[in-house]
């Protein structure tokens, strides 16, 4: 099996997919692109509906046999199916439901908040040409012009505080990983939260279990390898527009 993975700096969804590929030992042709410069929208990449309308925003694109796959958690599920490394999803159906429900929470509540805060802290320089999705283009304009409402940023900080509280509670029984065994949930959660330590430091002020979990995660060889692909000192400080904040409850 081989494929082409177009990815950004190892942060957010690009981190999840890179680390998942290394965990599973999937051999991919890695092609770094500049997500902040909008290279995902260039003609060098495929533009199926699933690329252009991915609601993850500026995430990685995995192309296998002409099919372009997006949305990091689901690409990681794919890599889990095809890779030879140890499983990164639980085998038991209920444990698997727990993992998917956890990831849904991260995707729906944490990622939009992290992306809003990250882009506000490090706005992209310009709106790239060729964005097919009007709502993604609008998020780019908001990010470039620094126009996100303060109330949304305040709510986003609350979401980050709540996410760390949720992690602390999850780890309270002494487990090493969020779902018990190591899983995609650990990668996706860390991918979105890594950059929040600098932006919402209060959230991490009294979170010893989260600190220890993150240290364990960042010591994993696959994670070290993913982070080693960074071409800048702090990949977690690099942001491009991500998922939108829910329009509807």
């Amino acid at each position: 099996m081989t494929g082409i993975l177009y990815h950004g700096q190892p942060n957010g969804p690009s981190f999840t997919v890179l680390a998942a590929a290394f965990e599973k030992g999937v051999d991919l042709d890695l092609r770094a692109i500049d997500l902040v410069a909008g290279e995902r929208h260039s003609t060098a990449l495929p533009h199926a509906i699933e690329v252009d309308q991915s609601i993850e925003g500026e995430g990685p694109v995995l192309v296998v046999d002409g099919v372009a796959m997006t949305d990091s958690v689901f690409v990681a599920c794919y890599l889990d199916e095809v890779g030879s490394g140890p499983a990164i999803r639980p085998a038991d159906p209920y444990a698997r439901w727990q993992m998917m429900a956890w990831c849904r929470y991260v995707i729906e509540r944490v990622a939009p908040a992290a992306a809003a805060l990250g882009n506000a802290a490090a706005p992209p320089p310009a709106v790239p040409a060729g964005i097919a999705s009007a709502d993604l283009a609008a998020r780019w304009t908001e990010a470039v012009e620094g126009k996100v409402e303060e109330s949304r940023l305040t709510d986003s900080r609350t979401k980050i505080v709540q996410a760390v509280e949720k992690i602390e509670a999850q780890l309270a029984d002494g487990r090493d990983w969020l779902m018990g065994d190591f899983s995609i949930a650990d990668l996706e959660t860390h991918g979105w939260l890594a950059g929040m330590r600098a932006i919402v430091p209060d959230a991490f002020a009294a979170a010893p279990l989260t600190d220890a979990w993150e240290a364990r995660l960042r010591a994993r060889p696959a994670v070290v390898k993913a982070l080693g692909l960074a071409t800048i000192p702090e990949p977690e400080a690099i942001w491009a527009p991500g998922p939108e904040i829910n329009r509807w409850g």
């Binding site: 309308q53 991915s54 609601i55 794919y78 849904r104």
Partner: protein, 255 residues
């Protein structure tokens, strides 16, 4: 005799997803109907099952599950019966991609329109003090905001225009995908179709200018094929309101 209980509203949107998945798998379950318009989902006996007060929820023995799309994946894996997640890993990815796109991009736009024309007007005539108290009991702040907007008809013109824009685009994407393959995510009927049907079954009625035999023949073919399935008939028979009865429009012949 079953150890499965499903707490649901109408066979429609989120409630209908696990309902139809259970019927397709042939899993017997106790149906626990919650009247969304009577705020049953925010009463203490249900909050004891799902403290977030969202519908649906499912119990299997002592396990409690929420999040309709994740419940469907569980139903498929935990019970015998026909496989609803495709076997091919790329098809699995496509199934999940479409379910997320529908759940988080297209469905919220349909919801905004549906709540402004159906849910809001359906509860608006209740006593205002009683309504306020009912809203105060909703656990999630996001849901409180949505309910207030629906009841007071407070969706902005801008929000409604954006929702209608997404509905039109989304119908186009569905038509395009269903023009490429028989079912939404693979060559076999599966979870993406169950999810999509719950969102789309009434589109020919609610969006007749966008979804019809002439403009979207593939969507119409797909809706009629799902409507013809015995599981779909059995599932929609659990509906109690005109909402679920809209499905009968799929009895029409292709134009």
């Amino acid at each position: 005799m079953t150890d499965v209980t499903l707490y649901h509203w109408e066979p429609n949107a989120n409630s209908g997803k696990p309902m139809l998945a259970l019927f397709e798998k042939g899993v017997a379950f106790d149906s626990h109907y919650l009247d969304l318009l009577n705020f049953d989902q925010h009463r203490p006996d249900y909050l004891a099952v799902n403290p977030l007060g969202t519908i649906p929820a499912m119990t299997h023995g002592d396990k409690v599950l929420t999040e309709s799309t994740a419940i469907m994946e569980y139903v498929d894996e935990a019970f015998d019966g026909p496989r609803l997640m495709p076997a091919d890993p790329v098809d699995q990815w496509r199934t999940r991609w479409w379910m997320k796109f529908l759940d988080q991009w297209l469905a919220p736009s349909f919801s905004m329109i549906g709540w402004s024309v159906f849910v809001g007007p359906s509860v608006r005539q209740k006593d205002p003090a009683e309504l306020e108290a009912a809203i105060d009991r909703i656990p999630m702040p996001e849901r409180r905001v949505a309910w207030r907007k629906a009841i007071h008809g407070a969706f902005s013109a801008e929000e409604m225009t954006e929702s209608q824009r997404r509905v039109a685009l989304g119908i186009g994407y569905l038509e395009q995908a269903l023009g490429q393959r028989e079912w939404l995510a693979s060559d076999e009927y599966g979870l993406a179709d169950i999810n999509g049907f719950n969102l789309a079954y009434a589109m020919p009625l609610s969006q007749p200018q966008l979804c019809n035999d002439e403009l979207t023949p593939n969507i119409m073919r797909w809706l009629r094929a799902i409507y013809a399935r015995p599981a779909t008939r059995a599932c929609w028979a659990l509906g109690r309101t005109d909402l679920a009865r809209r499905i009968s429009l799929l009895e029409s012949e292709p134009a």
